[in-house]
Symmetry: C2
DNA sequence: GATAGTGGCGAGTGCCACTATCTATACTTT
DNA sequence: AAAGTATAGATAGTGGCACTCGCCACTATC
């Protein structure tokens, strides 16, 4: 971790400045190191932008902000913003999403960032001519439900209140990466079983 | 979709050139449109780079290449390449991945791109101080297994051989986005159930 | 007292996905 | 037939992003 990079993060508001012990010496503590690790994790593994990380961090650090608002901010930075408004099928996809949510009995508004992201992905699927893939959506929803329950249970039982927001952000971002990697490992296994060939 | 953008894609080898009907007229057909949609889906929703898409497309279009090799190429472009070699905990994380694969009875080499990606994510988790999250890994693996089985079944039953490679690529890339979005929707629901508040 | 490092800051770099501009040609309208 | 519009192809430029450099005044250390 080079010094200029750290100075850059300080300037961008990702990292609090060190405490000045003299005009040209500042001391950094464990919290700075911790914060740096968080930044690298969100940047490298989570794929967030520096600006997005700043917003998330500001939200995390603001003790006034109610928890669910912080999570809202985090979600809106974490979910990549596709602007596919011109996509012909997006409206139809939004309807599918609303139906799925209703069928599942989920309490969630379909027009939140996650619902929009799902609609975008479904619309892209349709565009590409693999709309039939939507057939397995129920399996995806089952799996997502299980995972989400496990996430929440972990958070509820093992995380102290003051760490809550940060761990939810970390879990959301890194959880995506973990699941995606596992899905690919499972693909390799499943395809080996089905076709008798390891990839 | 602007004309210069299309020409750019042609130059970059993402899109075959149109058939010249005269020195300054080329005709594009339905396959070009289809290919364009694929490019946009991988770019916007899948988050691949133009160079990565080129590699994937070259692999898809090469009928000589055995299927499992194409999927290997696709996987190596789809999985983002983290270079966390200097991460202290990466070796330990690799061991966890190998153990997980063994415990699951999966047939997959832990040193493939997906295994590396998983190790990286786990190492990042540990760095950030949320190593305990690894507790729920089994739930993730269960879910990944289910999803992967559904993916494969769909492909085996509904996809013609000549479309196989493309649909696996599409399914892998868009499937990630779909699952991630669903996980967030399920989070909202689960947190509403647990804490009685919608986000 | 020479060397090396620091904070702070503006400017620069390299990469990437386009986008603008240019030339030469051809189709289209009047 | 002349003027206007459009296209292919190619080179160069743009804007955004994550750094990285260079400069200054100063200090810590050998």
């Amino acid at each position: 971790m080079s010094v200029p990079t750290i100075k850059f993060y300080v300037r961008e508001g990702l990292l609090p400045a060190g405490e000045l012990t003299s005009p040209n010496q500042a001391s950094y503590g464990e919290t700075h190191v911790q914060r740096l690790r968080l930044i690298r994790a969100l940047l490298d593994v989570g794929g967030l932008s520096v600006a997005g990380i700043r917003d998330v961090i500001v939200a995390i650090d603001d003790p006034e902000r109610p928890v669910h608002k912080v999570l809202g901010t985090a979600a809106s930075r974490i979910v990549p913003r596709y602007d596919r408004e011109q996509d012909a099928g997006i409206e139809e996809a939004r309807k599918s999403v609303a139906e799925l949510i209703a069928a599942r009995g989920w309490t969630a508004y379909p027009d939140n960032p996650a619902g929009e992201a799902l609609a975008t992905a479904l619309a892209a699927l349709e565009d590409v001519g693999h709309g039939g893939f939507a057939e397995v959506l129920d399996t995806y929803a089952d799996a997502a439900e299980r995972v989400a329950r496990a996430d929440l249970e972990y958070v509820a039982h093992h995380v102290a209140r003051e760490e809550l927001v940060e761990s939810v952000v970390v879990g959301t971002v890194l959880g995506d990466a973990i699941f995606a990697a596992m899905r690919r490992l499972a693909h390799v296994d499943a395809s080996h079983r089905a076709f008798g060939r390891a990839t």
